[in-house]
Subunit: 309 residues, 2 copies
């Protein structure tokens, strides 16, 4: 099961963090941009190459201390198909370094369309010639608004290729309550969605108690995080909202079980652009990212304690 | 406003249909696949080129009778970045022929991430050099589960670039009710989501009464379609579920207002693969698609009557 692999990696590194790879060509260090533009011109291709070089530097600096990365698809789509090529290469590079890769695409569709997404992100495709992995991530974030029809094709891919999904349950943003907190006969909408995750995951149980169907729950809503951790004992949590969005380490710690397992906490820009905050040279961006990742690990483990299974 | 443009095109052609471009290399006529594989090998590139050639044939056969196409992103992502390049070329080709292009990506995220999606699909990006449109569609399907934070960046792009969005409200699939029909104090979840669309669109009104924020409502739920048409007078509807999924022309007609406007009905595979059903040669796939599109137009207009503003 995919989250068994992730849990083993988290435990080995004693670090329940995932680094979001959301790079903008406008914000990465100038030397990388200049080098790519020199070679490819100030084109989408140049921008995509700069982002790829940036990502490789981050991965090289983190792979021995951080178990996972989470590339955010939007930042690659924004660079057109050239950006999608950079995403493909980023995922391949991170996996070759042993990192667990969560593609953050929040995909949501039904039937043959969702099957196509499952193949794109988690599976392999054979259109003639040799089968190939279009993007080849370990897990994908998805929406659950369409119900089981949108989840079933993913479960097939999870089973066939040992992959996982994270369903949006209670997101970290300020307006997440507009729909997610609306009360139903069984409590708020997010609780209903969470219970669907438990139900959907039941057919794919994992060795450490967590199924292949995880959930996204924001650190910015610590009481809901506490509630959902208790209510969803088989659902591994992906926790955004730590740091810049306002969630503290103590808030994020509510996502974990008594063994210090069951969740992974995301940080994106605080790590990617640590060099800006430190005021160091852009050429040291990767070392600055490592320092910030180590700081985050200390902060989280001080709250969570030792991770063991 | 984007849906003004679409309404004018629908009225000019007297055809409220959109053709879904969801091609699989495995299912398109063999002569297209053979030609692409001959040139590019049995590779993702070959598969993507075959799909692009197929799409161009469909667009050539339909652009003077059908106002819009709706490429489904999943089917291009499934072919990796090479597929995304084919998607980019497909959108460019359809727009050059004057068609309105709805990218069916059901994207959903917040803040800077949603802004990146808005730029990717509806806007332009300037990373150095000249600005470019990563994918350049006229409208994008999106999820609303995250609330206004996920919609606001899209509204900016809609305003700046004269584009539109369709929010998932009541989808056509059998399990759509698992979450969407759950009762809240204000009625079912889908109604709440529909009312949010009216609210979000209020700042972007259109000439014919429809804002830049549309909604997806399936023809497979005719009573909800009737309810939502009445409840959401400023929300243009994208209606899947006609044909293969079980929605009839009479069902789909419930999406339209008294002027025969306010909605567009999707058909995908029934048109793309009409040649299979007709039993004609794959080489005639485009002519067969045109015949099926004309048949669908007749069937719909018989129910809806003349479209006028």
């Amino acid at each position: 099961m995919p989250f068994d692999r992730l849990i083993e990696k988290i435990t080995a590194l004693q670090n329940p963090t995932v680094v979001g790879l959301d790079p903008s060509p406008e914000r990465i260090p100038a030397f990388l941009r200049d080098a790519a533009y020199e070679r490819y011109g100030e084109t989408p291709e140049g921008a995509a190459e700069a982002v790829l070089a940036f990502n490789k530097g981050i991965i090289d600096a983190l792979y021995d201390i951080v178990p996972a990365v989470k590339p955010q698809c939007a930042f690659y789509e924004r660079l057109g198909w050239q950006g999608m090529r950079a995403l493909h290469e980023t995922i391949r590079y991170a996996r070759a370094k042993g990192m667990f890769v969560i593609a953050d695409g929040k995909r949501n569709d039904i039937g043959s369309t969702m099957k196509a997404y499952a193949e794109a992100w988690l599976g392999a495709v054979c259109t003639g010639g040799a089968p190939y992995e279009p993007f080849g991530a370990d897990a994908l974030t998805v929406g659950g608004y369409l119900g089981r029809d949108g989840i079933a094709p993913l479960l097939d891919a999870c089973k066939d290729f040992d992959k996982g999904i994270f369903v949006l349950v209670k997101t970290s943003n300020p307006s997440s309550g507009e729909l997610q907190d609306v009360m139903t006969g069984d409590g708020p909408v997010y609780r209903r969605m969470g219970l669907l995750c438990e139900q959907w995951g039941a057919c794919l149980p994992g060795r450490y108690g967590y199924s292949a169907v995880g959930a996204v729950v924001g650190a910015t809503y610590p009481s809901q995080l506490t509630e959902l951790r208790a209510l969803l004992p088989h659902t591994f949590l992906l926790v955004p909202g730590y740091g810049a969005q306002g969630g503290s380490a103590a808030d994020a710690a509510k996502a974990f079980d008594q063994n210090g397992l069951g969740a992974i906490v995301n940080s994106s820009r605080a790590i990617l652009y640590a060099y800006e905050k430190e005021g160091c040279s852009g050429r040291d961006y990767a070392a600055a990212a490592r320092r910030e990742a180590l700081r985050m690990r200390s902060e989280l483990t001080a709250e969570i304690g030792k991770m063991k299974f």
